[in-house]
């Protein structure tokens, strides 16, 4: 019943060429550093990656870009990455830009078995082109479809052997949504705690969403924009 694994290499070997992968994180905050590194080493190709951003040149999902492992990126903002720009302009990389709230909701819908939903977000913009429109409750909306992943990579703060997870501060971001929407979810945690140590009233990702759980060590947790108070 334990989901604890010890080899990131073996866990990411579950991911096949051509898979759709949902990856937690916002910018470089709360990204599954270790699983991404293992996947970069593994070299799995033709991935469709769904994640709010695409890392930076030499970190996070940028590592997979550098290796040309990503065929298509689904994201809301990709402005922090030069390699991304090159591959996109050369036509190597397919890109689907999705408003952040719609992206979050589509991933949630994927985990929650809601095949599609209507939202006013994007009406009258290029995002709405080709999408079904419907007025509901007096509001013009467009139809958006759920996103499910063949696999999901998430990063949590603490987890137990059953796969219960808690996240810290804004490192939560897309992680719980990704965990639920992955058919095979690999969670990495900073700390493995005993079963029963996490308060059942305050578990962010209940155990049933997680298939593999690994403990990562020496997290870099790079900061994109360190801002401090002027003393």
């Amino acid at each position: 019943m334990t989901k604890v694994q010890t080899s990131f290499e073996e866990s990411v070997a579950r991911i096949q060429d051509g898979d759709t992968l949902i990856v937690g994180g916002f910018g470089l905050c709360g990204i599954p550093e270790k699983a991404i590194q293992a996947l970069a080493e593994k070299g799995t190709k033709n991935l469709t990656v769904v994640s709010n951003n695409c890392g930076v040149n030499d970190w996070g999902l940028g590592l997979l870009l550098e290796n040309k492992q990503i065929k298509k990126m689904v994201a809301s903002y990709v402005g922090e990455n030069k390699i991304f720009e090159e591959q996109y302009l050369s036509g190597e990389l397919e890109v689907e830009l999705v408003p952040q709230g719609t992206l979050a909701e589509r991933i949630r819908a994927g985990g929650a078995g809601i095949p599609g939903f209507y939202t006013p977000t994007g009406v009258g913009t290029p995002i709405a082109e080709g999408k079904e429109h419907k007025v509901i409750g007096g509001r013009q909306c467009i139809l958006e479809e759920a996103i499910q992943g063949d696999a999901a990579l998430v990063k949590a703060w603490k987890g137990d052997a059953y796969g219960n997870l808690i996240y810290q501060k804004t490192a939560r971001n897309f992680n719980p949504l990704a965990a639920a929407a992955g058919k095979f979810t690999i969670a990495e945690v900073e700390e493995l705690v005993g079963v029963g140590e996490l308060d059942p009233d305050f578990i962010h990702t209940p155990s049933l969403y997680v298939q593999h759980l690994l403990v990562g060590t020496s997290y870099e947790k790079r900061i994109e924009r360190k801002t401090v108070q002027q003393a």
């Binding site: 916002f26 905050c29 809301s76 830009l97 952040q100 009258g124 913009t125 810290q168 804004t170 971001n173």
Partner: protein
């Protein structure tokens, strides 16, 4: 900071009412936070999953797990909370944010906003802007009145791809404040020494003038 931007921020901060929930866009809008008077109890919402953004941390309190939507390290205010992005945008789309202040590239006379994409340039993405303009109770756009070539950014119709259609409630520039009403765009205030004539000269979009403003200028 240019005095133009400073002027815009000074006027924009007056939009922020005590006891409200406010989302500030990345860039110039983020700077508004520094001008909110301490006696106003505001909860700043950050769409990456934080209600109650506090000031930037001291050097020793920098936490990679605690950032705002602009990816800057921040702190959390007492009584704040963290949540995932589905919840964060449920708050936005569901109308639970009282006020959003965002930057703009172009605004049309009917309140359309363009602020995410310039054709021919690398597309970076819209982030949460399309959700925010649809969901916030009040959407205030701040931008310079004209572009670098002195051309009006307030257009009859936006030339750039839209972020949202008929979504702007108020526009604040370095020269003027406009409201978008069912009967069209209305000039409410002239700012920083501009007069109605100057505003008319630098504004491509047609607008009407608030009666109170006409009266004031007549004096």
């Amino acid at each position: 900071m240019s005095s133009q931007r400073e002027n815009i921020i000074q006027r924009a901060v007056q939009e922020v009412e005590n006891g409200t929930i406010v989302n500030l866009g990345i860039g110039m809008p983020t700077m508004i936070a520094n001008y909110i008077p301490a006696e106003k109890n505001i909860f700043l919402h950050s769409e990456n999953g934080l209600l109650g953004i506090g000031p930037y941390p001291g050097e020793e309190d920098v936490d990679a797990d605690l950032i705002n939507a602009g990816k800057e390290t921040v702190t959390v205010k007492q009584g704040g909370s963290f949540f995932d992005n589905a919840e964060s945008f449920a708050m936005i789309r569901g109308g639970h944010i009282d006020l959003a202040i965002l930057g703009g590239m172009e605004v049309s006379s009917q309140g359309d906003l363009a602020n995410w994409m310039i054709p021919g340039k690398m597309v970076k993405g819209m982030g949460g802007a399309m959700d925010i303009v649809q969901g916030a109770q009040k959407v205030v756009i701040i931008m310079t009145h004209t572009n670098k070539n002195g051309e009006s950014k307030i257009r009859k119709a936006c030339a750039l791809p839209l972020t949202g259609e008929k979504v702007v409630d108020r526009l604040i520039t370095d020269m003027a404040v406009f409201d978008f009403t069912p009967s069209g765009m209305v000039l409410r205030e002239v700012l920083n020494g501009a007069d109605v004539k100057t505003v008319e000269q630098y504004t491509e979009a047609p607008f009407t003038i608030d009666e109170a403003l006409v009266d004031r200028e007549a004096k």
